[in-house]
Amino acid sequence: MTHLRRYWLESLAVVVVAGSVARSFTVEADVVQGDVQRIMYVHVPSAWLAFLAFVVTMIGSVAWLRTRNRRWDRLAASSAEIGVVFTGLAILAGMIWARPVWGQFWTWEPRLVTTALLFFVYLGYLALRRAVIDPVQRAQRAAIMGIVAAVQIPIVYYSVDWWRSLHQASSRNSIDTPLRITLLLGVLAFTFVYAAILRRRLELARLEEELEVKRFEASPDVAGAGITAPSLARALQRD
């Protein structure tokens, strides 16, 4: 019972994912695309998560700038790490879906293009974090970039949507109710998976910081401690 209480979110995620997988394979396939259409139940929820994770990163970034509480920076960073994985998954699933259906790996559909650009935005955000050693500076710089990017992403989406509407008719077809229910179940399942992974990643980040603080307090690396009088000077004096 203790394990269930401790892992309640993961348990819930497993249940919902199991239900979603079962539904994905048992619901009738699209009459035009056939069974390959089922990959939509991975592609669309992944893309949804990619954007959700980025919104959470933005929320963490704003909260850090307002409070300078490290837990908000941990939230922003953890969500970005998870987001980049799901963004990659969304792109991959989209390409696997596109090839048999449209004969090419890439369709220039606005959501796919925006997801691809979001992938690079994530990579840039994580690369920025990696490049800064001091945790406070890292949090500050990353927070600024997280917010600026979040403001720009909707503009990116609408600009691609406009462009696409001029060059090609919208490929957004209506979905029958059974397929729509399966899709929503998939979105719910992925959201629980995201929440479960995020919770674990946040705990790991918190423990890493606590360990760092304990190590530091036990034997702090003092800036000038390693500097002594040069031995060459002493040798020259003796001579």
Binding site: P220, V222, G224
Partner: protein, 214 residues
């Protein structure tokens, strides 16, 4: 803490990443004081100076500089009363010494001939048209001291105060410091040459910890 203190630091510490640079620094600076900051390489002298200049936010402790609490937006209102001459020149290499000084004059609301007068007072009138990246270290330091003459700061902070200066120019440092303290301001000088410092008292920093030296 004395309410009239220009600088008051209480248990101020600075940690960057996993490196502790300054710890529990207690420091007071009164109007009219000249204080020397001594210590070996890597002891935290420049860090302390930058905290006093409000350029670094301490990671622990608290402090007030010219009435502004460190780490708050109030520091924006007092920075223009501080001049810090660091051990690396704060000049734009591609601009001439005259252009650099006039830039400071214009941004502090002074007419540009004040800049030219200041350069003349530090002995650089004839080098005004020389680019900063073609000037010697001593010339750059003199040009930076000209900045103190233009701004007339309440707080003058000099890192490696006499580095690169010839005998004539060392007197310049003392002269400018004297002007600042006479006007009710204060001066902090970092130096590796305690014998050359003309100060009221000195503070020693070792491994990020402050103690009175004399």
């Amino acid at each position: 803490m004395n309410a009239n203190s220009l600088v008051s630091l209480e248990n101020v510490g600075l940690r960057i990443g996993n490196t502790l640079i300054l710890r529990q620094a207690k420091f007071e600076l009164e109007p009219g004081e000249k204080v020397g900051l001594l210590g070996p390489n890597g002891s935290g002298k420049t860090t302390l100076l930058r905290i006093i200049a409000t350029l670094l936010r301490p990671t622990s402790g608290s402090g007030v500089v010219l009435g502004a609490e460190l780490g708050t937006d109030a520091v924006y209102d007092v920075r223009h009363r501080i001049v810090m001459v660091g051990h690396l020149p704060g000049l734009y290499p591609e601009l001439t010494l005259g252009e650099n000084t006039r830039f400071v004059a214009r941004l502090t609301g002074h007419p540009v001939d004040v800049a030219d007068e200041a350069l003349a007072m530090v002995g650089l009138a004839g080098a005004s048209a020389r680019r900063a990246d073609q000037s010697s270290k001593g010339m750059l330091r003199r040009a930076e001291l000209a900045r103190a003459l233009i701004i007339e700061p309440s707080l003058l902070l000099l890192d490696e105060a006499h580095a690169g200066l010839d005998a004539e120019a060392i007197g310049l440092v003392d002269g400018i410091a004297h002007q600042v303290v006479t006007a009710g301001g204060a001066v902090v000088l970092v130096s590796h040459e305690p014998d050359r410092l003309n100060v009221d008292r000195s503070v020693q920093i070792t491994d990020g910890t402050l103690e009175a030296a004399s």
